[in-house]
């Protein structure tokens, strides 16, 4: 059971796959070459994950073939994919949280008894190959996202694969973890394996990729070959990708294209607003949360958020961001301290009451907490206004009103859905996020708490979301922005505070080029205090 790399090219030819109301893949052909990183780019809903699912045997194409080294292979089940050395890290984790790392890895192994010794050896081998360290006996749910990802990669390569597919592996990772991942990918590539990498960040595609394919609305609309990409400058590559990705739309995006690409060093022109004179919108005084115990709670948090201000909260994922946002939204009780909103004590008021006051919360758990997958897009868009006019009248839902509102929001936010009646769970990850944002930011919001608002979103949507948040603030709304993406924080926030192990450990006014560095220092715990 060693890593066996072969020089066989994996060719997809004419892959077509339709779901009710959408053609997810439309006659897609591409070649995946060993020893190369093939980047797959495209908007949310372009069909990237569907193509990967077909490679992984999770979906069957309506037509088209996959061949390995010239032989057509019918990937009729994930087992066939695994047996052919196709290892996939799916967009949504496939680790079993209640299992240990080893158990997760041994799942699917043959034999009667679980062979922990052999599994441990194989894990050591792979960890060495990837250049990472993984505790085999840790519970998957206790690992940070970066480590979970490492386990997923090890799992994908468990049976000695020829192809490693990574579906948006970087969207939840810290910059350090992304660097780690890039190193691991380089090592895998050096072993002679083929790698397919899906990402929304052009910078990553350019840095890690050997060639690039762009999907739009299910079609392969552009390919940059290895030779071309090698001769391109980063700028040229970005222009080519953006042109293919958005086609005509690029005109609308215009000058912002480079900003969109995340190429420029993020910065913000702060028109010196004197927030001190503005009324305080939200104030937390020594607030601690009391959660169910599974994740980190916040302790003794004090912060002030003024009208029209965007306050960024930076920190590594899982350091109390959920607790802080739920505390403000009212979903988690405060064990100590007080919360004051527009001068009123809201410590004891519930979720609904706070919503009425204009407090909104965009969770980072889009799939479970954020939406009801089995209900329509339309209902999901008004679900926080259950019972309210004009969507409900004397207890009955008004389909026309709901539909009209849904259509408006779908248009405004560019939600890609076959119709308002489509089940929300079938949308692509990015589009599900748009549902949440549309729902929370509409209808009289005064304060929005947004937790990782743009992870997994395509460039255009990221841009749209950031614009919406900035506009919201410009019109007097307040934003508590929790994010792991430092660029995003710097682009949007007026002030950035750093959260670590549930406590706020530092505050930086975002007024110049030095911000990133200062935030970074707080994050690594280099300095204490406030400036």
């Amino acid at each position: 059971m060693t890593t066996t790399a072969t020089s066989d090219v994996i060719s997809l030819r004419g892959i077509t796959k339709a779901f009710p109301g959408v053609v997810a893949n439309d006659d897609v052909s591409l070649d995946i070459v060993p020893g190369q990183v093939h980047c797959l780019l495209g908007e949310n809903g372009a069909g990237k994950s569907t193509l990967i699912s077909i490679l992984a045997g999770m979906q069957q194409p309506d037509s088209g073939t996959v061949s390995i080294g010239g032989t057509v292979v019918d990937i009729s089940s994930p087992k066939v994919a695994v047996d052919n050395g196709i290892g996939v890290v799916h967009q949504h984790s496939t680790l079993v949280p209640a299992f240990t790392v080893l158990e997760n890895l041994m799942l699917g192994d043959g034999g009667v008894l679980l062979d922990e010794k052999r599994a441990t050896r194989r894990l050591e081998e792979l960890a060495g190959l990837l250049g990472v360290e993984i505790d085999p006996h840790a519970l998957a749910s206790d690992l940070g996202l970066g480590q979970q990802q490492q386990v997923e990669i090890a799992k994908a390569m468990w049976k000695g694969s020829r192809l490693l597919v990574l579906d948006e592996p970087t969207s939840m990772l810290t910059p350090q973890a992304i660097e780690h991942l890039a190193e691991s990918i380089a090592r895998v590539k050096a072993e002679g394996l083929a790698v397919v990498l899906i990402t929304h960040k052009l910078r990553e595609a350019y840095a890690m990729g050997d060639c690039v394919t762009i999907l739009r609305a299910g079609r392969n609309v552009g390919h940059i070959s290895t030779e071309e990409l090698a001769t391109y400058s980063e700028q040229q590559a970005q222009d080519a990708i953006l042109a293919a990705m958005f086609g005509e739309d690029i005109v609308a995006v215009g000058d912002e294209a480079t900003e969109l690409a995340g190429a420029t060093e993020a910065s913000r022109e702060t028109a010196a607003i004197d927030f001190a004179s503005r009324p305080v919108r939200l104030e937390l005084r020594g607030a601690s949360s009391r959660g169910a115990g599974r994740d980190v709670d916040v302790e003794d948090v004090s912060l002030t958020l003024r009208e029209g201000e965007i306050l960024g909260i930076a920190g590594i994922d899982g350091h109390g961001q959920n607790a802080l946002s739920e505390l403000v939204a009212g979903q988690r009780p405060a064990s100590t301290g007080t919360l004051v909103f527009d001068g009123d004590d809201i410590t004891r008021s519930g979720v609904r009451g706070r919503q009425r006051l204009g407090i909104r919360y965009v969770t980072d758990d889009r799939l479970h907490e954020g939406t009801v997958g089995s209900m329509s897009v339309a209902v999901n868009l008004v679900i926080k206004r259950i019972g309210e006019q004009p969507f409900w009248r004397s207890g009955r839902i008004q389909p026309k009103a709901v539909d009209a509102e849904a259509k408006r929001l779908i248009d405004e936010y560019g939600i890609r859905t076959p119709s308002p009646a489509t089940r929300a769970g079938t949308l692509s990850g990015g589009n599900i996020q748009k549902i949440l944002l549309a729902r929370e930011l509409t209808n009289g919001a005064r304060l929005v708490v947004v937790n990782k608002p743009t992870y997994g979103l395509d460039l255009k949507t990221v841009h749209l979301v950031r614009e919406i948040l900035t506009d919201f603030a410009a019109q007097g709304g307040s934003v508590l922005l929790l994010s792991t993406d430092l660029d995003e924080l710097i682009e949007l926030s007026h002030r950035i505070q750093v959260i670590s192990r549930g406590r706020l450990v530092g505050s930086v006014v975002n007024d110049g080029p030095g911000t990133a560095e200062k935030v970074g220092q707080y994050m690594t715990g280099a300095i204490e205090g406030t400036d």
Binding site: S53, A56, M58, Q59, S77, P78, K79, A81, V82, D83, V88, H90, T94, L95, V96, P97, A98, F99, E103, N104, M106, L107, G108, D109, G110, G111, V112, L113, L114, K155, K159, G373, R423, G425, T426
Partner: protein, 311 residues
Amino acid sequence: MSEMLSATFITVFIATVIAQAMPLMLAAVGETIGEQAGILNLGIEGVMLIGAYTGFVVTLMTGSFWIGMLAGAIGGVVANAAMLVLNVWLGLNQIVIGLAITLIGEGITSVLYLQNYTSSPASLGAQPRMPIPGLSEIPVIGPALFRQSGIFWLMIVLILVLAFALARTSWGLSTRSAGQKPSSLDAAGGSVMRTRSTAVILSGVLVGLGGAYLALLTTATFSPHLTNGLGFIAIVITMLSRGRILIVMLTSLVYGLAVAMGPALQVIGFTVPADIIKMLPFIIVIVMLIVFARSSVVPPALGAPYTRGAR
């Protein structure tokens, strides 16, 4: 009083605890295996009854308790076939199917029994004993523990083997993952369908054995509604034990203790109303529920049919 607490009394008491605990233990282990794979079987009351009835009839016919137990296991599998086909294969609702199995099991066994045996209620007589040389001579516990039927020992071995297999074999890991996150099992190249099918069949075997044990060894007869809610108690115990078979065994013994306690109290001289005595096991289960319910954790995918690639 002192003579009441004589050696024979204690011997009988321990034997009763075991006799009462075993059917529940087998049924709860069966339910555990199903639930670990993601199948909540509310039908085990019916499955137990069918296992009990087939075991009873076959033992009467063949005169062999061993063949009767085997028949009970087969009866359990046949009863669980409804769950296998309708839920695992066709994806219909587990709760509905489960309740249907319970109702059908109760109905069929009652009707058949009343038709065939009411005129001459049959008892199965004494079970075959397998005294373990040496150990069975130990005073008090010897006769209680080591003069059991060979069937008892086989069942204990079966349960322990399953406990081991669930924790330590690839079969066990696949089974548990089918209840935790079937998509992971599928993505890893396993078969959710096959894993769940195996679990349902195995669960049928154990629950059927539980029913047969109740009829053949615990009561030595059959009567309509013999289980009297034991299947549902098994479901409760399964949920409280969070998939750990050793805990299933322990809680089943606590139940057995509760059942044995009633007659024992009477013997000792407490005059407790018969109704209270009958209620005692249920009260104990309710107390266990209240105390431990907060810590009951069911597998996340329990009750959810799996379709590959569905969103």
